[in-house]
């Protein structure tokens, strides 16, 4: 037995949009909880983010590619979970810098506390990365910090990125 209902727009009983088709089978999700949002992507486009030797320093990704819920703040480098958007988020960060033979740690911090980190030995301008899922409540914030042990302070390069998005139903 097969049953088919043909309709282009689904709404809940109160008229809130859930999803719709454009009539050609292309679906646009409208409902909260059915999209990988909030989602953001930013990079460090400008100079001036100096990493002091042997000091955990926040990387402020100052230019957004996108930010669906205005949750990432380019002034302080924080992603903050908006109201009604708690859940598991996937984050990925890469920080590039020129520091020959430096030991570099990149850290994801939740509310000021390290939760995950990546390390690398830097011999050129390649990136050091970290990625993981983090359980977040409304108002929690995530930042990226880097510690490097070269003999000189170094600049964060423009091949540095910070991305994140909410997982659905996880």
């Amino acid at each position: 037995m097969t049953s088919i209902i043909k309709v282009n727009t689904y709404q809940d009983a109160n008229g809130n949009a859930l999803f719709s088709s454009d009539g050609s089978g292309n679906v646009t999700m409208s409902a909260n909880g059915a999209k990988n949002t909030p989602a953001f992507s930013a990079n460090r486009a400008n100079t001036g983010n100096t990493l002091t030797t042997n000091t955990a320093t926040k990387v402020i990704f100052d230019t957004e590619y996108y930010d669906t819920d205005s949750a990432y703040d380019t002034s302080n480098g924080r992603f903050t979970v908006p109201s009604g958007k708690a859940g598991k988020y996937f984050f990925c960060a890469t920080v590039a810098m020129n520091a020959n033979f430096a030991y570099v740690r990149i850290k994801l911090r939740k509310n000021g506390t390290d939760v995950f980190r990546g390390t690398a030995i830097r011999v050129d301008t390649s990136g050091t990365s970290v990625s993981a899922t983090i359980d977040l409540a409304v108002g929690d914030y995530v930042e990226v910090y880097v510690t490097q042990d070269s003999t000189n302070n170094v600049e964060v390069g423009d091949a540095s990125h910070f991305h994140g998005y909410k997982l659905i139903g996880a």
């Binding site: 689904y10 809130n16 859930l18 059915a34 598991k88 390390t119 993981a132 997982l167 996880a170």
Partner: protein, 173 residues
Amino acid sequence: MSILKTNQITDLGGNELLTSNGSGVISSGGAITNTPAFRARMSGNQSFTGNTNTKVNFNTVVYDTDSGYDTSNYRYTVPTGKGGKYWFYASVMCSVSSNDHRVQVRYYVNGTETIMQYVAGITGKVMGRCDTALTLSASDYVECYILTDSTSSQTVDSDTKASYWGGYKLIGA
């Protein structure tokens, strides 16, 4: 224009496909969630022989939505009906005994090496990573291995901030 208003959609078998809370917020729907999803960590350091492929003993589950991860053999197995593309991420921190020795993190699918990433290391602790999407069928299993160039005995550090493995299913990919 055609509009259907309902708070819940099920299939003919009564299986829930999508539910709204009446305020436009979808609370469930198996086909449109990033599940199965899991993350695992280690409860203690793991010694292993250098220059030998070694399965990383992620023996503690942090979360596992569909009970796909087995802490006895450190395998993630795709549950019935959950085939598709999965995103996996792993971070493994271990000691490196000599300069320029690589640390490789590898994913094995059904016992066969499928993809790897490596980093160069110098003496000290180095973190290997592997981030990738894998196309998997139900009952396929994935394991995470580590390999170092160094031939001496090595240790994976169980620091939960540094050594972990997780994954989740992509939607419709």
